[in-house]
């Protein structure tokens, strides 16, 4: 191992990752200067550096051995989720974090990695190549994902729990579905989703309503959507620069360093900056997909596609929210949003992808 493995890492992927992380740190710095979150950028540097180490570690350990131990990992994260409900920190009415020493950990972020591995393992172990999934497989996979999802929803953290779905969808569709199954699932969803709406918390309903009609309550639930759109539009073609971004700096933009970091980026860097950042995200996802294509085995392919689907979902929902094309769900933008758990979880996932890369010629 060592130098050779180091050389074999997916360097284009890592370079794009580092650029995006760098943009993120700069944006966190600029968005929080003079606010109560000042100093968040220093922490973010720490998260990225430790994240890089984790990535390396994960790559070296490899997805295969992790998949071998996935039962323990699954039980571990479920245990952490239960622990969160028992001893977690309540913030904004939601119990998502466990205090560990000087910082807090969000177990639901790490569920993603475990689910990617668990689904990949199930598909490899119980589904023969070149076949399609049976209803039984679908049911089992649904339970596998549904259990942690329910626990996270209970926190309540709808946004994070929804991020598990693209992992499932990616795995299932890569393994293969019959058209009939797709049709039936679509029909069932079409019926159950409107019913599910009634089980949402009032603030979650408000978010959906205000997504559709932000002007109904511009000072209340529509506030974030409206302010985010104003910030983006205020950026114009070339951006306002770090000093003149009034939406970011005068506090009109909610949480400009985490969920709405892309609004503040859009205000300061303009359309040009946005296109550059989105191209980087596109390259990142395509590079992950490329690793899926060159993977040595189906397991690696499932892992990479799970990561790619999750990244795509994160970018779509977070960036879509920033421009008002997606409802507010409170999920972070990978690599740019500040925060320990989500940064680590992204680096861990990229570690899995690098692990697939390292093993692509092994046969």
């Amino acid at each position: 191992m060592g130098y050779r493995a180091f050389k074999e890492l997916d360097w284009p992927l890592i370079i794009v990752t580092l650029i995006l992380s760098g943009l993120g740190i700069i944006q966190v710095y600029s968005a929080t200067s003079g606010t109560k979150w000042e100093g968040a950028w220093e922490k973010q540097i720490l998260w990225v550096l430790t994240g890089l180490i984790m990535m390396w570690g994960t790559a070296v350990i490899g997805y295969q051995s992790l998949m071998g131990k996935v039962l323990y990992l699954y039980c571990g994260v479920i245990g952490l989720l239960f622990a969160t409900t028992l001893i977690g920190n309540k913030v904004f009415g939601s119990t998502r974090w466990i205090r560990m020493g000087g910082f807090t950990l969000q177990p639901s972020e790490f569920v993603k990695i475990v689910l990617i591995l668990a689904i990949a393992r199930y598909l490899v172990e119980y589904v023969r190549p070149n076949t399609t999934l049976s209803w039984g497989d679908l049911g089992k996979l649904g339970l596998l994902v549904g259990f942690p999802m329910a626990l996270v929803m209970k926190q309540p953290d709808l946004g994070t729990s929804l991020t598990y779905i693209p992992i499932l969808v990616s795995g299932v569709s890569m393994a293969g579905l019959r058209w009939k199954q797709i049709l039936i699932i679509s029909l069932v969803l079409a019926v159950t989703l409107p019913i599910g709406y009634h089980f949402l918390k009032p603030y979650q309903k408000d978010r959906l309503v205000s997504f559709k009609y932000p002007d109904r309550d511009p000072k209340g639930t529509g506030f974030q959507v409206i302010q985010s759109r104003i910030a983006v539009g205020n950026g114009g073609m070339w951006g306002r620069g770090a000093k003149e971004s009034s939406q970011t700096h005068l506090g009109f933009l909610p949480v400009p360093h985490t969920d709405f970091i892309f609004s503040s980026f859009a205000e300061e860097r303009g359309f040009v900056g946005i296109v550059i950042a989105l191209v980087l995200y596109f390259l990142l996802i395509m590079q992950v997909v490329q690793n899926a294509q060159t993977a040595n085995d189906r397991a690696g392919m499932y892992v990479c596609m799970g990561v790619a689907a999750l990244l795509l979902f994160h970018v779509l929902v977070n960036v879509g929210m920033v421009v008002g094309k997606m409802p507010i769900t409170g999920i972070p933008l990978p690599l740019m949003s500040s925060g320990g758990s989500n940064t680590w979880s992204i680096f861990l996932m990229l570690g899995l992808v690098n692990g697939v890369r390292l093993r692509r010629f092994v046969n």
Binding site: G62, G68, N130, I230, G235, S246
Partner: protein
């Protein structure tokens, strides 16, 4: 081999065999995912394109609205000054309460309304109708109200409230010159829809009447704006550009406060109007109308009780009688009849008529005011005496000989039947009857008998005090009629020139000299020692005396008293008209004119001697002060 050595690391654990298969069968699905990714990114970029490239102005404006709190800096309205630069209408500073629409919460309004004694329904209506980002909801706040607002405008209470400095219009007390100055008020919804108010906004203070309305564009300033950058909690971060308010221009008028106050004083307790004008150039020196109203009550929003009180007053205090009251001129019209007679050759200086106290025309008997049994009549009478003693029979005969249309021709030259075009809103038009006039109005022909009454200024003929001043001022000015005006510094405008025989004009003027200065003159009370005052009394009937005798209608039906006076005879500098409603006889209006004339010539004398003008007026602007200074000098006598 490196690969072999790696193997041990990579395959250290896990069910290897199961994972060992070819992933290529998923290639098609992966391609689908790639296309999907492209679509997602195109979708996201299009979102930014819409906001940042297609419509960035909209959002940068929205961001500016978030960030900039602008407070109006209200411009002071120009002052209204008299001809010597003394202040008639001033401003004083006050505080107004502004509501920021963005921050306004409906549930706060009842509390705000209660604390400031505003009607909640009215307040919510104002806020609902108004579209401006900031709405002034109360002017002229009291000390208590200001301290209440200061205590409650923080984040936790009613942050939508904002105190701003504003100006309150200060008019002279007691309704002094109120009809000339007019008053200001909030612009009405109706006015806002008119094209001439296109540059005005809801809530703007605008001149509603008088000079305030006429010269609103000169008087009103341009409001400025103070812009402050605020954060999302409304805390001020830094000052932005401030656009200072530009005060309105002062309006210098031709009015003379000294004459105005003498006129006001003379008319105290009476109804009517006084107009003083310089016949040489049309400058209006004084104009008043009684009863009057307190213009201060109209600034901002007038209370309902005050409004009702003014509107229900049977004597209509808002009416500017000087330009809006149309009454028969009575005998004050006789100089024009005389001039018409002389100029048309109908009579000459020596033409005599016999006055036995009345005469019959076309089967009707017309009495002279000196009629039996009290008086014997004027006997044989010619022009000079007829003017001096105001013989009705003489003028019946002149009018009869002239005929209505020739009379109307001269009335027309004198301006009767025309507005003077003074720079005040809502001037009413006088009436000069003629055959055409009657035909147009009633589609009936003129009866010769109607001419007889017109000959003594009765019947259908009407004038306002200003129109009478203008009409006789033109004769005093020896045949040129100047347009009356109130704005100082404008070039005199000739309305009409009568190409008369100068001797005829002198005869009429001399007759009017006789009225004041000769024995048997009807207006001798207007005489001023050392000044050659000319004048003419007028008593215009509101109803026939016969009718009056039969009823107890009393004072309301008593004749109106008119007096017109000008001086000096050779080259008049001032003409004064007084209308004393229900004053019964012209000589009861003559002393009013005399006081104004005397004030004029006294002042002229003081000026010639280089004495100070009345400094107490310059120092303290208050109508009561002005009136008090004149109490000693111009005591009314009756």
């Amino acid at each position: 081999m490196a690969k072999d050595s790696d193997k041990s690391v990579f395959q250290s654990s896990g069910p290897d065999i199961a994972f060992r298969d070819d992933p290529r069968d998923a290639a098609g699905k992966i391609a689908v995912f790639q296309y999907l990714t492209v679509l997602v990114f195109v979708f996201l970029v299009s979102g930014f394109w819409q906001l940042q490239v297609q419509d960035p102005e909209r959002y940068s404006e929205a961001a500016a609205r978030n960030r900039i709190k602008s407070t109006p800096l209200l411009a002071a309205r120009g002052k209204i000054l008299d001809r010597d630069g003394r202040v008639i209408v001033d401003n004083h500073t006050s505080y107004s309460l502004l509501l920021n629409r963005e921050q306004t919460k409906w549930e706060h309004l009842p509390a705000i309304a209660a604390a400031l004694q505003l009607d909640y329904g009215e307040l919510s209506g104002v806020i609902r109708r108004n579209t401006r980002p900031q709405i002034i909801i109360k002017d002229q706040l009291s000390r208590d109200e200001i301290s209440w607002i200061e205590a409650h405008q923080d984040e936790s209470a009613y942050p939508e409230m904002q105190l701003i400095q504003s100006w309150r219009r200060q008019y002279p007390q007691g309704g002094f010159a109120a009809h000339v100055t007019g008053y200001v008020g909030e612009i009405s919804e109706n006015d806002l829809n008119l094209p001439q108010f296109s540059e005005y906004h809801q809530g703007d203070i605008v001149g509603k009447d008088g000079l305030e309305k006429q010269y609103d564009k000169i008087l009103r300033g341009v409001d400025g704006q103070q812009r402050v950058q605020v954060d999302n909690l409304g805390h001020e971060r830094q000052m932005e550009t401030t656009q200072p308010a530009v005060a309105g221009n002062d309006l210098k008028t031709t009015l003379d406060l000294d004459l105005e106050s003498v006129a006001e004083l003379a008319m105290q307790g009476k109804r009517g109007a006084v107009v003083a004008m310089d016949p040489r150039n049309g400058e209006v020196l004084a104009m008043m109308s009684a009863p009057t109203f307190d213009a201060n009550k109209f600034t901002g929003r007038i209370s309902r009780t005050d409004w009702n009180q003014i509107m229900n007053d049977p004597y209509k205090p808002l009416l500017n009688r000087a330009i809006q009251a149309e009454f028969a001129p009575g005998s004050t019209f006789k100089p024009i009849v005389a001039l018409a007679g002389l100029e048309s050759g109908t009579i000459d200086e020596d033409t005599e008529f016999h006055c036995p106290g009345g005469a019959s025309f076309y089967g009707n008997y017309y009495a002279c005011w000196r009629h039996p049994p009290q008086y014997p009549g004027h006997g044989n009478i010619s022009l000079h005496r007829a003017i001096r003693e105001s013989c009705d029979v003489f003028f019946y005969n002149v009018a009869n000989k002239l005929g209505i249309d020739r009379l109307a021709e001269y009335g027309d030259i004198a301006g009767i039947g025309h507005k003077t075009g003074i720079d005040l809103p809502n001037e009413r038009e006088s009436t000069m009857p003629s055959t055409k006039w009657k035909l147009r109005l009633t589609r009936q022909k003129w009866y010769a008998g109607e001419t007889i009454s017109v000959g003594i200024g009765q019947g259908a003929i009407t004038v306002s005090p200003l129109e009478l001043a203008s009409a006789l001022g033109g004769i005093a000015n020896r045949g040129s009629w100047m347009q009356p005006h109130l704005l100082a510094g404008v070039a005199p405008k000739v309305l009409r020139v009568g190409h008369f025989n100068p001797e005829n004009v002198e005869r009429v003027v001399f007759g009017m000299y006789g009225v004041v200065n000769e024995p048997h003159g009807t207006g001798t009370t207007a005489a001023i020692p050392g000044v050659k005052v000319c004048g003419k009394t007028g008593t215009s009937q509101l109803a026939s005396n016969k009718f009056l005798k039969g009823t107890a209608a009393g004072r309301a039906m008593k004749d109106n008293a008119w007096f017109v006076g000008y001086a000096p005879m050779e080259a008049p500098e001032i003409i004064v008209v007084a209308l004393f409603e229900n004053g019964e006889h012209g000589d009861r209006a003559s002393w009013i004119v005399r006081d104004v004339l005397k004030a004029y010539f006294d002042k002229k004398e003081r000026k010639a001697k280089g004495l100070e003008l009345q400094t107490e007026i310059q120092d303290r602007l208050s109508a009561t002060t002005i009136l008090a200074t004149h109490l000693v000098e111009a005591k009314p006598r009756q």
